[in-house]
């Protein structure tokens, strides 16, 4: 196994929009190593979301290769991708994306249900994941009984519960106030310090600053890829 978790080569992604062919990604190559803390930035229309979907195995490229943990995922079937998402990716979304009718614990257990784990082990793992994000006392609350910060922590616990290779966060603080944002960023910092690979997708420079490395996209290509001198995490 190499050090690299993610290896992308000349990734191209095009969409047919009516009669027009939109090139969202025009040949992106990048490599992310284990335990890196990376921010992906770029203005809207830069291909940032497309790249995130590809990294998260929600989508496949039209051309190019994507190796995740030494498996080529760029040619996989839908169900194989689902399996990869389940085991390798932990998603954190801007709008939390929790199931509204399920409790925090049930939400966190969900990836384990799809992994086919038995109920006893599932609960144990989910409880410890919630404890890890400081929500050990909120397990039976439903999303609408929790604050935004708490919801996002439930989402982080859910992302972590399968011990994924990468934690992929899409504008994780976009719906939070600055105090709560700082709190969530501290959680990411802590997880990174514990050895978790973290990828942040954001358009806010001060959020990106938390990462050790910033990749900027522009017009579907990598415009810059640099270490962050003033990174909080570094």
């Amino acid at each position: 196994m190499t050090e690299a978790v993610i290896q992308m080569r000349e990734m191209v992604r095009e969409y047919q929009m009516g009669t027009e062919l939109v090139q969202a990604l025009r040949g992106v190559s990048l490599e992310i190593r284990r335990n890196e803390y990376v921010a992906i930035m770029g203005p809207s229309g830069s291909g940032k979301s497309t790249l995130m979907n590809l990294i998260g195995c929600l989508d496949t490229p039209n051309a190019g290769e994507y190796w995740l943990n030494d498996q080529e995922v760029s040619r996989m079937s839908d169900d194989a991708l689902a399996r990869i998402r389940n085991r390798e990716i932990g998603f954190v979304f801007q709008t939390f994306n929790l199931l509204p009718r399920a409790t925090a614990l049930q939400n966190v257990e969900l990836p384990l249900v799809y992994a086919g784990m038995n109920a006893g082990d599932r609960t144990e793992r989910a409880v410890s994941a919630l404890a890890r994000v400081g929500l050990g006392n909120r397990m039976d609350h439903r999303p609408n009984e929790m604050s935004g910060g708490q919801r996002q922590r439930v989402a982080i616990a859910r992302a972590l519960v399968n011990a994924p290779s990468i934690l992929l966060a899409d504008e994780p603080t976009g719906n939070l106030d600055s105090v709560t944002s700082a709190e969530i960023m501290r959680v990411f910092g802590k997880l990174h310090a514990e050895g978790q690979t973290v990828i942040l997708v954001t358009h806010e420079p001060d959020i990106a600053q938390h990462a050790a490395r910033t990749i900027v996209l522009r017009d579907g290509q990598v415009a810059s890829d640099s270490a962050n001198p003033c990174s909080v995490a570094a």
Partner: protein
């Protein structure tokens, strides 16, 4: 995802939207209710009719008649005419059979009519009067609770005596002992010598509105056809002897009437089986119509559930996206919605079973119709519920499973 998990999830979804769920499963509910109730009633009728006919006619007795007394289905014009051309069963025919039969049997010449039975100013209308021989009481299995049956001797001399049914005694005598008193039928007085044990009802009709008089009384004139009798009632010891007796009677009567080998019988034997045949035909029709009726409700129920599930898929696109992002495979999503639809329909079917049984009991309690719940119909009802739900769930579930996760996550 394990099945149990999926069912639990489905029940939870059901419970959170009770009213909507109720409306969506009402079709299946009605279908299964109908299935259970109709099967119960038909089954109940079956048992009941068999019991009653056996009691009324007796499995070991038959009647020699001019043509069948109970017709089942449509009788053609031609058939009617043939029956009408047949000679009557005469007293001489009866005497010939009674004298000639070697098989040990009880026989009674019978004629029936309806009339008003009067006592002073009181009257009991619409009483079925039978003019018969003395053995009628043993053939019909009538217990005399008060007094006695009339004797063969009384028949021989044409004594104007009468044995009355329970309802007639009640109507006319209210607390007074009827024995020895005279009632009047068609202007002629008859002395009451006995009262028959209460017979109860059949399909709501009383079986106690009757009077029996000796065959040789004045009643013969208005109960029997001119120069004939209605039927000769014959009872053997058991069914096998009865079959032998029928064969014997057939041979005797054919010989007496000089029917050639190619000629059909110009008389008829009626047994309990023949009488039951009528009911069996009705039951067959009901059972034949039942699948159609149940199928219609279930198809409607299935369509409703399919629509509800399509709506659920549309409403829960975001949820499907989340589940897919977290690793749900196509078949996980498929299973979730199929199980949800099946659960919905099964819950409907279970309520249908309960309601169907309740309906059967209400029918049994408040109408003369009997009802007996058939266990197989319960099993079938629940099975149909599951099957309808799964079938109805397939299209919506497949649609859900094919959603693109990115698109689905974007939904609100």
């Amino acid at each position: 995802m394990p099945l149990f998990e999926a069912v639990r999830l489905a029940l939870h979804a059901l419970w959170t939207q009770k009213l909507k769920s109720f409306f969506s499963l009402v079709g299946v509910l009605i279908g299964v209710t109908f299935l259970i109730a109709v099967v119960s009633i038909v089954q109940g009728m079956n048992v009941y009719m068999t019991d009653q006919f056996t009691r009324l006619v007796g499995m070991n007795s038959f009647q020699v008649r001019r043509f069948p007394g109970i017709q089942t289905g449509n009788v053609s014009e031609e058939q009617w005419r043939e029956w009408r051309r047949r000679p009557l069963i005469t007293e001489a025919d009866a005497a010939y059979l009674m004298a000639g039969m070697r098989t040990p049997v009880l026989t009674s010449r019978n004629c029936q009519g309806r009339t008003v039975v009067r006592l002073g100013g009181k009257e009991a209308p619409d009483i079925g009067v039978t003019a018969a021989d003395a053995s009628i009481f043993r053939i019909k299995n009538y217990d005399i609770v008060n007094g006695r049956a009339f004797s063969a001797q009384e028949v021989r001399v044409g004594a104007h005596v009468v044995v009355i049914g329970d309802l007639v005694a009640e109507r006319l005598f209210e607390g007074v002992d009827p024995l020895g008193r005279s009632v009047t039928m068609q202007g002629i007085p008859y002395r009451v010598v006995g009262v028959v044990d209460k017979q109860g009802t059949m399909l709501g009709m009383s079986l106690d509105k009757f009077a029996i008089v000796p065959f040789t009384t004045h009643a013969q004139r208005w109960t029997c056809p001119h120069n004939g009798i209605r039927q000769l009632e014959v009872q053997a010891a058991d069914v096998i002897t009865m079959r032998a007796a029928i064969d014997e009677a057939e041979t005797l009567l054919r010989a007496r009437r000089q029917l050639g080998p190619t000629e059909e019988n110009n008389f008829d034997f009626q047994t309990a089986d023949a009488a039951l045949e009528g009911w069996n035909k009705i039951a067959t029709i009901l059972f034949a119509a039942l699948p159609g009726l149940v199928a219609i409700s279930l198809v409607v129920g299935g369509i409703v559930i399919m629509n509800i599930m399509l709506m659920a898929v549309a409403e829960r696109t975001k949820e499907i996206g989340i589940r897919k992002a977290l690793g749900a495979k196509r078949r996980d999503i498929m299973a979730q919605f199929v199980v949800e639809a099946a659960t919905l329909a099964t819950v409907g079917a279970i309520f249908g079973v309960v309601l169907g049984i309740a309906l059967a009991f209400v029918v049994k309690r408040y109408t003369p119709l009997p009802a007996a719940v058939a266990p197989w119909s319960i099993g079938l009802g629940v099975f149909l519920g599951v099957a309808v739900g799964m079938t109805a769930g397939i299209l919506p579930a497949s649609r859900a499973s094919k959603l693109d996760p990115i698109e689905a996550l974007r939904a609100e």
